[in-house]
């Protein structure tokens, strides 16, 4: 088990990538603190982990609220004695459209959750990790942090790019304390949204629209991101810090693909 003995906090883990990562972390031996805004969904994730023989608690927190993040980290240490891993996963796509058209409240909310939430996570996790002699922080950026899309928007692009900068800056700051800080940049991942019904993600027209211009002719799965996060959380990535791991089926390295070439 790759996270045996470790204590991990996963924000936004009531659904999607966060939930999948919480389940995987627990399977790999970590004691997991599931966190999010929806109590019922969070308790359900904890139940799933426990039914599988894992250890987890739920702690309600809004990542954009400093007090919540402070309490989340405090509750973690109180329950499990320490903190080894933090996955800053919580994020919102508050607006899809042109930059100037995004309402100011949408901008503020997007930046507060996606970027300030990561800052707050790092802020409160670092002292505990220093006490612990080290740790690993992974933040969830996006391929839209390095490339624009008509399905993205201003606050999303800026916040996700901001996470990459914050990752590098904090990697430098906390390397002397053996705290490694990296981020993952997912592409089009199915089953991510809390608001969409599950069957939406398997509709042929959805899969077609989302993967038509991407080299790998399929959508990603939340598992694909969870495994990338597991690699960065575990000691297998001991020499990796300040890195961005892109999990996007090749989307951001390809020029716009006019159409698929048939396998030769």
């Amino acid at each position: 088990m790759r996270l045996s003995g470790k204590v991990a906090v996963v924000t936004g883990s009531t659904f999607g990538i966060g939930r999948e990562t919480a389940l995987l972390f627990a399977k790999e031996g970590a004691k997991v603190v599931v966190s999010g805004r929806t109590v019922e969904a969070g308790e359900q994730v904890v139940k799933e982990i426990q039914a599988d023989g894992g250890q987890a608690i739920f702690f309600r927190a809004d990542v954009s609220v400093a007090r919540d993040m402070r309490d989340l980290i405090e509750a973690t240490v109180k329950t499990y004695g320490k903190l080894d891993v933090l996955f800053n996963n919580a994020g919102l796509l508050t607006y899809q459209g042109k930059v100037a058209d995004e309402p100011e409240e949408s901008w503020d909310l997007g930046i507060a959750v996606n970027l300030k939430g990561v800052y707050l996570g790092i802020k409160y996790a670092v002292p505990e990790m220093i006490r612990n002699g080290g740790g690993s922080i992974i933040s969830n950026s996006s391929m839209w942090g390095i490339a624009a899309s008509h399905r993205s928007g201003g606050s999303y692009a800026a916040s996700k790019a901001g996470i990459i900068g914050l990752t590098k800056q904090s990697a430098l700051d906390y390397a002397p304390y053996k705290i490694r800080i990296n981020c993952v940049l997912p592409g089009d991942i199915a089953f991510v949204g809390a608001t969409r019904p599950k069957e939406y993600w398997t509709r042929p027209e959805v899969v077609q629209e989302r993967s038509a211009h991407q080299p790998l002719p399929k959508m990603g799965d939340t598992r694909d991101v969870a495994y990338a996060v597991l690699y960065l959380a575990s000691d297998e990535s001991m020499f990796v810090t300040g890195s961005s791991l892109v999990v996007d089926g090749g989307m951001t390295i390809a020029e716009v693909m006019a159409g698929r070439t048939a396998p030769s």
Binding site: A171, K178, A228, V240, S243, V247, T252, P263
Partner: protein
């Protein structure tokens, strides 16, 4: 075991990152074909892997030679029936004046042949075999020096590694339809023979501390650090990852030199 049932070819497997990957891939259940130029050393490492229960053969080969690379891929298929994973790891550098106006032309040609053409040849001959089994994973060993310049490496080293990164992306885009993923690992300073550190010295903490001023993490990397990254890309855990470059550099590229 994360590579159970898979057949993996690793080039430059007689030292450093290639050797560590051969050991790790075998432990994770892969049947491994090691290749390198040093036959005696290669056979000895293979024997060690077999002694701990791994399945492995060694094939003497120079990755800059087309016939050699063809022979390695053929040996994998002849011995183990197929090819799933190729780690294009082999690489060289020289320790002499490497500025473009000073690097000897023969050195340039040699380094480009091994570091860049070797990767091209590996991809060239692996892809048809991977198509036969419905996909595969190719990992190329690039470097932080694909985008960052240093004062001591040969110009050809930088150029070859930049080329490896570009070739990784090209191959990722065109072979995605064949379900062949192509990614690169980009190591920073790793304690290997390339920097005059022998395998026996690797676990010496003092050695790993050498040249610690360049990385925020303040130590050199261990070949196993790169082997684990290669394992991630080799396994199905990275099924949605292609064309990616993963820095394993202790934070070197994330910061300017003012790491103190």
């Amino acid at each position: 075991m994360r590579l159970k049932g898979k057949v993996a070819v690793i080039t430059g497997a007689t030292a450093g990152m290639g050797r560590a990957s051969a050991v790790l891939f075998a432990r994770e259940g892969a049947k491994v074909v090691m290749c390198g130029r040093r036959k005696e050393l290669g056979e000895e490492i293979a024997k060690g892997i077999r002694e701990e229960g791994g399945e492995v053969i060694f094939v003497q080969a120079d990755v800059s030679k087309s016939e050699d690379v063809k022979r390695v891929i053929k040996a994998a298929v002849d011995t183990y029936g197929k090819l799933d994973v190729l780690f294009n790891n082999a690489g060289i550098n020289h320790h002499e004046k490497g500025d473009p106006d000073q690097e000897p032309e023969e050195v340039w040609d040699n380094i480009i042949d091994v570091n860049l053409k070797g990767v091209f040849l590996g991809i060239k001959y692996a892809v048809p075999e991977m198509r036969k089994v419905g996909g595969g994973s190719i990992i190329n060993n690039s470097s932080v020096n694909d985008t960052q310049a240093d004062e001591v490496s040969m110009s050809s080293y930088h150029a070859s590694k930049g080329g490896v990164t570009a070739l990784t992306k090209k191959a990722a885009v065109v072979y995605a339809v064949d379900n062949i993923r192509v990614n690169a690992v980009n190591p920073g300073p790793i304690a290997t023979e390339l920097v005059d550190i022998t395998w026996d010295q690797l676990n010496d903490p003092e050695i790993i501390e050498m040249r610690k001023t360049k990385q925020p993490l303040r130590r050199m990397g261990h070949p196993m650090d790169v082997a684990y990254a290669a394992l991630y890309f080799a396994s199905d855990e990275s099924a949605f990852v292609t064309g990616a470059t993963l820095l394993i550099d202790g934070g070197q590229s994330a910061a300017y030199r003012d790491v103190q």
